[in-house]
């Protein structure tokens, strides 16, 4: 039985990507053709990203990224498309995610409090009041 393939992110159709003409189109044109970008570069709206991928997940195996495409649309100072680049999963690198986490200050409930904290919460008398 074929398992489900999930389309992820924003995959503009091939035909509309071809229509984007560097040197001619402005941000509004690209927005009309490809829709709102998935993300833009940090603090810099001169670079638009359209990120999409196909993933599948079978039985208890980890979800697997079959393919990934990042469509990069760059604008020059005048706000006109200066370049359209496409990079794929192979262009990326494997990175092991850092396990460190910034502690979230405030009400960190300890285990006992979490477990017994709510036993009384749902007594009908309390909810009904």
């Amino acid at each position: 039985c074929a398992n489900e393939i999930d389309a992820r992110g924003n995959l503009p159709s091939e035909t509309s990507v071809q229509q984007v003409q560097p040197g001619v189109h402005t941000r509004a044109d690209v927005q009309a053709l490809l829709g709102t970008p998935s993300a833009t570069a940090l603090y810099d709206s001169a670079v638009w990203y359209y990120i999409s991928s196909h993933t599948t997940q079978y039985a208890f195996l980890k979800p697997e990224e079959l393919d990934r495409q990042v469509l990069i649309v760059e604008f020059d100072r005048a706000g006109v498309v200066s370049d359209v680049i496409r990079i794929f999963k192979e262009d990326g690198e494997e990175v092991s995610i850092s396990a460190r986490e910034t502690p979230a200050r405030g009400t960190e409930q300890n285990v006992i409090q979490e477990f017994f904290g709510n036993l009384g919460r749902f007594t009908p008398s309390k909810v009904g009041r």
Partner: protein, 254 residues
């Protein structure tokens, strides 16, 4: 309701009732105290004690951690007596009612959002009052909490290699919660994600912002290991140093 129903209807002078309620408060019997304060107001709605009793009744409920009831009592007081001298305290106590109900970052944050709103209102309405200073301290913590939630969700998406979802969550922390303690990690996570996606010069650019604003942080050390010495090529515009990002002493209200 409670056993001693009959004496509730004994008409007694306002001041005696008020003092009895006050003594109950001091003995820590907050539930009885709040009932006694209500009694003052019910029997003597016109006495000056009635208004004081409304505020003290709410405070008793707050101490008894009946935050919702305290909230209702305070809102009624604020509607009835907008000109009262204790009005700043009423707004502040109402904000605390929300603040106490904040749960940790992995759980529902609507109480945190309400707390942030209420604390901001205290600072907006009574900027000079002594409550404003404490309200701002607590506001920083609620902001940190809200940022903490974004980080939890961001890390979840990163862990299940949903890079786009993770990226937008960490960007939200950087753009909307730039005063919180989570910004360095959020910047580092973007370096990680950009490297995975193959956007290497974007990874370097973010690493530069991280290094510039938080040079001593461990996160910059990790970014350094990942992206290597950040070589800023000359013609590229200098990494934007958002005024909000550099740890700034003076604090303008959002």
């Amino acid at each position: 309701c409670s056993g001693k129903k009959d004496d509730l209807y004994v008409e007694r002078p306002a001041e005696a009732l008020y003092n009895e309620a006050l003594s109950l408060m001091n003995d820590g019997k907050f539930r009885d105290a709040s009932k006694a304060f209500d009694e003052v107001e019910r029997q003597h709605p016109y006495s000056t004690w009635a208004m004081k009793a409304q505020v003290m009744g709410a405070y008793a409920l707050y101490e008894n951690s009946d935050y919702d009831d305290a909230n209702v009592a305070l809102s009624r007081f604020i509607d009835l007596h907008p000109g009262n001298k204790d009005i700043a305290y009423a707004y502040y106590l109402r904000a605390l009612c929300q603040y106490e109900q904040m749960s940790d970052v992995r759980r529902d944050q609507s109480a945190t959002e309400r707390a942030a709103e209420a604390l901001t209102e205290v600072m907006r309405r009574f900027p000079e009052s002594e409550y404003a200073r404490d309200a701002r301290l607590k506001l920083d913590l609620t902001r940190d909490h809200l940022a903490g939630r974004e980080m939890v969700v961001g890390r979840y998406y990163l862990k299940s290699n949903q890079y786009l979802a993770a990226m937008n969550r960490f960007r939200k922390v950087i753009e909307k919660f730039d005063q919180t303690t989570h910004v360095p990690e959020a910047l580092y996570r973007l370096v990680e994600i950009n490297t995975i996606l193959g956007l290497n010069w974007e990874a370097q650019r973010v690493a530069a912002i991280l290094g510039h604003n938080f040079p001593g942080s461990e996160w910059y050390q990790d970014a350094y290991d990942l992206v290597g010495e950040v070589v800023l090529d000359e013609n590229a515009p200098p990494p934007p140093v958002s005024s909000a990002l550099t740890p700034v002493e003076s604090q303008t209200l959002p």
